[in-house]
């Protein structure tokens, strides 16, 4: 069906560390069709209007977690946010909030990677196991205990949504704490005591004030707010019961 060509204004936050003191907004007029995502909009800008525009993207189907941006102030995956939903208004695209900008829409995620490492995001076996002992067996209930929390794609939308991370960059934050919970809940894992030190620490769960916006913006329905708040209970138990525990709990 023939359709009249529509054009939408996309306002992009630009920043080039070599020439700019501060980020600034630049507006582009982008012709679009109803099936075009915001990501395709910025790709159009890069291909046809300004080749210097920088942004991260990969899969275009909400599974790689690369294309997170603030779209009209909301942390969103730009590949699953559509231009038609903003037309005829202008749509504003900025780098994810609460992170240092490397260039244009590209953020520096080094701090997050450090946090990811710190939670030991891998199974720490309870005891050494030989090949002859065969595979680990898990019941559906044991799988259920952690499966939801294992769907994180590290898109960082929850960090951009979290006002507490915005105020305290040391906060381990929603995604990393959720992944920590995922491994603690795994019946094959024995690393809980070590990970709890991070949960209990000043950088840990008690930075959270149960705002819940992290779970709202999560594109994979991981519900990080739930994982963090479950661990407030775990941490409080650990805090008060450590005097009764034979090993004395963590420091």
């Amino acid at each position: 069906m023939p359709e009249q060509q529509k054009t939408i204004e996309i306002e992009v936050l630009r920043y080039n560390p070599e020439t700019d003191q501060v980020p600034y907004a630049q507006v582009f007029a982008v012709p679009f069709t109803d099936d075009m995502s915001v990501l395709q909009g910025v790709q159009y800008i890069k291909d046809y209007l300004d080749g210097s525009l920088s942004f991260r993207w990969s899969c275009r189907m909400a599974i790689c977690g690369s294309c997170g941006m603030m779209i009209n102030g909301e942390p969103s995956l730009s590949c699953q946010t559509f231009l038609r939903d903003y037309y005829p208004e202008r749509v504003r695209v900025e780098a994810l909030a609460h992170f240092p900008i490397e260039r244009d829409l590209v953020i520096n995620m080094e701090g997050f990677i450090e946090k990811l490492e710190s939670i030991q995001p891998y199974i720490i076996p309870k005891e050494a196991r030989t090949l002859a002992q065969g595979e680990y067996l898990q019941t559906p209930a044991q799988l259920n205990a952690y499966e939801q929390f294992s769907s994180c794609i590290n898109c960082l939308l929850c960090y951009a949504a979290c006002p507490q991370f915005g105020l305290n960059k040391d906060f381990v934050g929603p995604a990393a704490l959720t992944l920590l919970h995922r491994y603690n809940m795994d019946s094959r894992d024995g690393g809980q005591a070590e990970r709890m030190q991070l949960v209990n620490a000043e950088e840990g769960v008690f930075n959270c004030t149960a705002v819940g916006y992290c779970s709202e913006v999560c594109p994979k329905h991981v519900d990080p707010a739930n994982a963090v708040n479950l661990n407030k209970t775990n941490s409080a138990m650990d805090y008060f019961l450590r005097f009764l525990a034979p090993k004395g709990g963590t420091k």
Binding site: P163, L198, E202, F206, T209, A236, Y239, F240, K251
Partner: protein, 122 residues
């Protein structure tokens, strides 16, 4: 995150906050109804439900004392924690001063409630 981790003391305040929240959710509306609506308007309850002698007897009973103390102290700790963190959320960079003010008022209220309840006698 390589630096040594320091255990947070937040669980103490969080537990008081949680206990106060639970108590206010369960009993708050009922207390507002009884003390603020039912008794003043003479609805459902006898007119002298909150008369001085009855309230004094309630405050002199050990269980009554415990109830009044828990309601006042835990509600205050709940409010202090909520207000302190809300300051945070609305961008007021709550530091030591705000912390002392919020939790200090809760502490003051707790001590005053304990003193008053003990002074009321048994």
């Amino acid at each position: 995150m390589k630096r040594p981790l320091k255990r947070s003391n937040a669980p103490i305040f969080w537990a008081l906050f949680g206990a106060g929240g639970m108590l206010s959710a369960l009993l708050g509306p009922m207390l507002v109804f009884i003390t603020g609506i039912a008794v003043p308007l003479g609805l459902l309850l006898p007119a002298d439900t909150m008369s001085y002698p009855k309230m004094l007897a309630f405050a002199q009973n050990l269980i009554g004392k415990g109830f009044i103390f828990a309601i006042i102290a835990l509600f205050l700790w709940h409010a202090a924690h909520r207000i302190f963190h809300s300051l945070h959320d609305i961008g007021i960079h709550a530091g030591r001063g705000a912390r002392l003010l919020c939790y200090g008022l809760a502490m003051l209220g707790t001590v005053l409630a304990a003193y008053a309840l003990l002074a009321t006698g048994f």
